[in-house]
Symmetry: D2
Subunit: 308 residues, 4 copies
Amino acid sequence: MRFSEPNAESLAKLAEVVFLALPHGVAAEYAVPLLQLGCRVIDLSADFRLKSAAVYKEFYAHDHPAPDLLKKSVYGLPEVYRAQIQNASLVASPGCYPTSILVPTIPLLRDGLIKPSAIIADSLSGLSGAGRKLEPEYLFVDCNESVRPYGIPKHRHLSEIEQELSLSAKAPVAIQFTPHLVPVNRGILTTLYLAPAPHFEGRAGLPPAHSGETGTTLEALNEKIAACYQAAYGNEPFVRLLDPDKSALPDTKNVVGTNVIEIAWRLDPRTGRLIVMSAVDNLIKGASGQALQCFNILCGFPETTGLI
Amino acid sequence: MRFSEPNAESLAKLAEVVFLALPHGVAAEYAVPLLQLGCRVIDLSADFRLKSAAVYKEFYAHDHPAPDLLKKSVYGLPEVYRAQIQNASLVASPGCYPTSILVPTIPLLRDGLIKPSAIIADSLSGLSGAGRKLEPEYLFVDCNESVRPYGIPKHRHLSEIEQELSLSAKAPVAIQFTPHLVPVNRGILTTLYLAPAPHFEGRAGLPPAHSGETGTTLEALNEKIAACYQAAYGNEPFVRLLDPDKSALPDTKNVVGTNVIEIAWRLDPRTGRLIVMSAVDNLIKGASGQALQCFNILCGFPETTGLI
Amino acid sequence: MRFSEPNAESLAKLAEVVFLALPHGVAAEYAVPLLQLGCRVIDLSADFRLKSAAVYKEFYAHDHPAPDLLKKSVYGLPEVYRAQIQNASLVASPGCYPTSILVPTIPLLRDGLIKPSAIIADSLSGLSGAGRKLEPEYLFVDCNESVRPYGIPKHRHLSEIEQELSLSAKAPVAIQFTPHLVPVNRGILTTLYLAPAPHFEGRAGLPPAHSGETGTTLEALNEKIAACYQAAYGNEPFVRLLDPDKSALPDTKNVVGTNVIEIAWRLDPRTGRLIVMSAVDNLIKGASGQALQCFNILCGFPETTGLI
Amino acid sequence: MRFSEPNAESLAKLAEVVFLALPHGVAAEYAVPLLQLGCRVIDLSADFRLKSAAVYKEFYAHDHPAPDLLKKSVYGLPEVYRAQIQNASLVASPGCYPTSILVPTIPLLRDGLIKPSAIIADSLSGLSGAGRKLEPEYLFVDCNESVRPYGIPKHRHLSEIEQELSLSAKAPVAIQFTPHLVPVNRGILTTLYLAPAPHFEGRAGLPPAHSGETGTTLEALNEKIAACYQAAYGNEPFVRLLDPDKSALPDTKNVVGTNVIEIAWRLDPRTGRLIVMSAVDNLIKGASGQALQCFNILCGFPETTGLI
C-alpha cells in the first residue's frame, strides 16, 4: 500500500490511534479510558514497558496505576516485536538508552553467541535526554565543556533493559549500565563490552597465547556474529550495520535527525572480548520516530512513512 | 624549602633539566646527547615509557632509537614512582589516557582487591588530545555535535598501561581500552569496570541472591577500597578522592585547568562489579602539569610549585 | 498542481535542469556547454551572481570565464526575482550572508524607508559556512569556545550584496559588513543597523529630546515598516516575520534545518535607529534549499515541494 | 614593592578592604555600614557605577538605597581612573559589556577622533554572562547551537556606558548597543562601528570617489588612531593592542582565563568607517580580575599581583 492520498480508510485508522506523551504515572491514567473507548494507544512513557508491577514500583517509586494492562502491552521495538505490534491495542515505546542497548544485544543473546551474565553497557547521552528540567546541572555553563557520569549504578532504564534481555536469553540477566552526559544536544553512543559464549572462549578468547587455533576460531566467531546480525537486521529499514572489514564506527552525528540505529562490532584478539557500539538519536529512534514506526506497523502503513 | 626568591642553587638546578616535547622517535635522538652532557631529561613523548624495545616497535612501528636508555628511564607518575623520580636522570612523562587509568587502578591491584584479568577502561577525551592534526575528522563541524569511538581495539597507549598494571599486579595484565572523542576542548573522563578479587566474589558479588551475607561483605569491601585509596592518595596534593557516601562523581569541568585527578567509585550490589571513575585535564595532569610535578620532585622543590 | 506521482511531463522537466555545486571559475566552465545543450542551470557558486565582469575580477581575483552569460543570469532570490526565475535559463543562487542581509533590507530600500548610505550588517556564522577547508583555524579546538571577527573589512560577498542593494535603492550603495565566526555548526544571525530615511529623521529620530512629536512619528514609522514587510513577505512561504509587539527575536536554532528566514525589527526611540535582525540556515535558505526553491519555480512545481 | 612575603603592613591593608559580590540593591545596604566602619569597599554590583540616582532608578527599577554615596564612588576602570582608585574608599567595578566597550572607545572620544553621536556597539557574550539563572532560555539545549540577540534595544548596561562616554566626550552621548548570546562559556567579543570626526570625513571618508586625497588622509587618520591607542595603553599591563599591519583580530579564546583586553581596529576605505573590535573574559577583566586590579591599586601592591 502506498500512502499518498488520504482516503476514508486511512483516515479512520489515524483516528483510532492515540499517542501519549505524558509523565509516567499520568500516562496510565489516560490510557485506561482510551482503551475502554476502543482506541489503540502508543505510549511514550515508562508506564507499560514492564511486565511486572513490582519491578515498576521498585524503579519508579510508586504503585502502578493500572497493573492489569501490563500483560496486554507490547514493547514497541519493531525489530523484535513487529508481529505483536501489528495487532496490539497498547504499545509501550522503549526508552532511548534501552533502544541503543537492546537492538545490538538481543540477536547475540538469542543466538547464544554471548554470555548473558557479563554484559556491560557504557552510554553517552546528549542533553535533550534529560528533558527540559529546570535544574542547575542542566544549565549551559554546567554542561558545556563537561563530561560526566551520573545515576551510577542504578538507572531506571535498567528495569526494561534487563526484562527484555532476560526474555531473549531465556534466563535472568543483570547488566552493568553506566550513563554519561556529554555536551551535545542529541544522540546516544553506547559501547557494549560482551564476552563470547563459553564454547568460543579459550579459543577466540583470553589469553590468546593459550590457544593454538585462536586465529581461525576468532574468524569463525566473527563470521557467526556477522551472520547473526545479517539475519536479524539485513532487511531492517532503520538498522545500519557497519561493515567490520571497513574502519567505520558509529557516530551520533551520522544518525541525529534520523530514525536509524548504527551498529558496529570488533572482536579483540588480545582479550577475547566482543565490543559492540551503537548510535541513535534519542529523540527519534529513541523516542518519537520509533513510536511512529510502531504506528505505521499498527495501521498497516509502509513502515518508513514519514520517517525517510 | 620555600621557592620564592631565585638563588644560585635553585637556578643551577633549573639549568640542568631539559624538557623534551617532541614526536616519538625524535625525542630519543635529542635525549641521548643531552644525557651525555650531564643534563637530566623529562621527556613528554612515548619514547622512554616502555621497558621493552620490542613492545615499542609493536606499538610505534619503528625500531627504538636508543634501547639502552629504556632501563634507565623512570615512568613519571609521581603518585607511584616519587622516590625513583627524585634521583632519575631520565623521566618519561606518562600519556594522558594512561594517567587517567593507572592512578585509580594501581592501588587496587597492589592491594589485591581486584582481578587483574578483568579490567575494562572506557575513556572519553576532548579534542586537544588529538593534537593539532590537520585532518578532516578534527574539523569543528566534524567534531561538534558528534560522539564517537575510535582506535578500537588497539590504541598505542595500551602498551604503557599494561606494562604498569602488570608491574603492580606482579603478573601479565591485558586490559580492554576503548577511547572515544567528545566535543570538548580538554579533559578525559575514564570509567573503569573492575571485578573484585575472587575472595570477595560470590559474597559482594554476582548474583546477590546467592549470598546471604552480601550486605555485610559488600560493606567490608567498600571499606577496604576506601582504606586502600586513603593510604595511597590521602596525602597526595593532586589526587581528589570523592567521598562515596556523597553523590559527587568526577566531571572534567572540575579538573580542567588544574593538575588534579578526581576519583570516585561505586560498588554495584546488583552485579558485584566495582565502577571507578576518574577525570583529568589531558593537557595538565595528563601532560605538562605532571611533567612539571616531576621536575619539582627532581629538583627538590615543593611539589606543587607553579601548579596551584 | 500537486507533485505526488511522477509522470512523463514532470520527469522531463527534472531532466532539463542541472544544479552546479562547483568552485567559482569552474562552475562557469560547466555552465557554458550545458546551456548550449539547452539545459537550464542553477548554479550555487558565485560565478553568475554579479552583473559586472570587472567587479567579479575585483572580488574573485581572476577574469570571468564567461562574461557574456552575466546578463542572462537571474539572481536566485525568490522573494525578489520570482517572475524572472520562472523563465530563466541560468539562475545564480545567492550566497548565505547575502541572503540574510538582502531579504530584510530590500523592501525597506524599495519603499524609501531607510537611508541607502548608512547600512551596517553585522553577521555571525556557524562553521559550516567555511566549507571543509583543512586549515588550522577551522579545527575543533581553534573554533570551540572562540568568538571572532574575520575578513574585515572587505568580504567577497560584499560584491553581490551591494549590487542588489543598489538595484533596490536605484543608487549606488556601499555597506559595512563584518562577518564573525561563532561555534555552531549551522546558522547565520545578522544584525542590521539602519537609519530611517531623512523625512523620518529628527522626528522618530535622534536626539529624541529635540522633537516634541517623537512618540507619534515613531509609531507611524513603525507602522510603515510593518506594512512594508507585510506587503513584501506576508504571503511568502519561507519568510517568518516576528511580531514586534511580542518579545520574540530571531534565533538560529529556530531556522536550522529549514528553508525559513526569520526577521524581527526594533525602532530604538533613544537613538532613532532601526535595528533589523535575521536568522537563516546557511546550508538551506542560504544555499541548497533556496536553490531547490528556485528549481520548483523554474519547473512550475509548488514552491515548497521537498522543503517543508 | 614586591609582594612576596606577608608582613604586618600588607596584612593590615588586606584587612581593611572588602569585596562585595551581591545583587544590586543589596550591595548598597552592606556598603553603608562597612564604609562607616572605615573599610574600603570594592563593589561588583551595579549599585555605585552611576552618578545619578535618577538614571539608576530608570534602569534598575527601584530607588537607590544610598544615593549620597554615588558621588564618593570611583568607577573602577584602572586604565581610565587609576589615580582616583588609589585613594578611593568606594570602587564600583564596571560591568562586563561596559568594559569591552569603554576601554576601546574612551581614548578615541577624548582625542576627538570619532563622532560621539554615531557609536554602535555590537556585543557577543558567552553564557556565564547571564549568571546561573534557572530559566529555560539558559538550559544547555536552548543555548547550544543557538545564536541570538536579546534585550534589544535597552540593556541596563547602557546607563553606565553612556555615562562614561559622555564624561569622555564632554557631551551627552547615546549609543546603540545590541547584546547577543553565543554558545561559549566565557568571553565577550564587541564590534564597534564608529564614524571618524567631521574634520576627517569626506577625506578618509565616504564616498572615497569624492576625495582625491583619500589615500593619504586615511593613512594620516590611521596613524592618529595608532598614536592615540599607544599613548593611552602602550604601558597598560592588561591591554593588548593588535598591530593593524598584521592580520590578527581579537578572539575570545585568546583572553579567556586572563585579565587582558584585546583591541584591534580597521579603517574601511570603502565606507570611511572605523571598525574597532575588542575581546575580554567577562568573568575576569569584565568582573573579578578587574576588581582585583583595583584592589592592587588601592593597596599600593604591584598592579598585576595575582593576575599574571
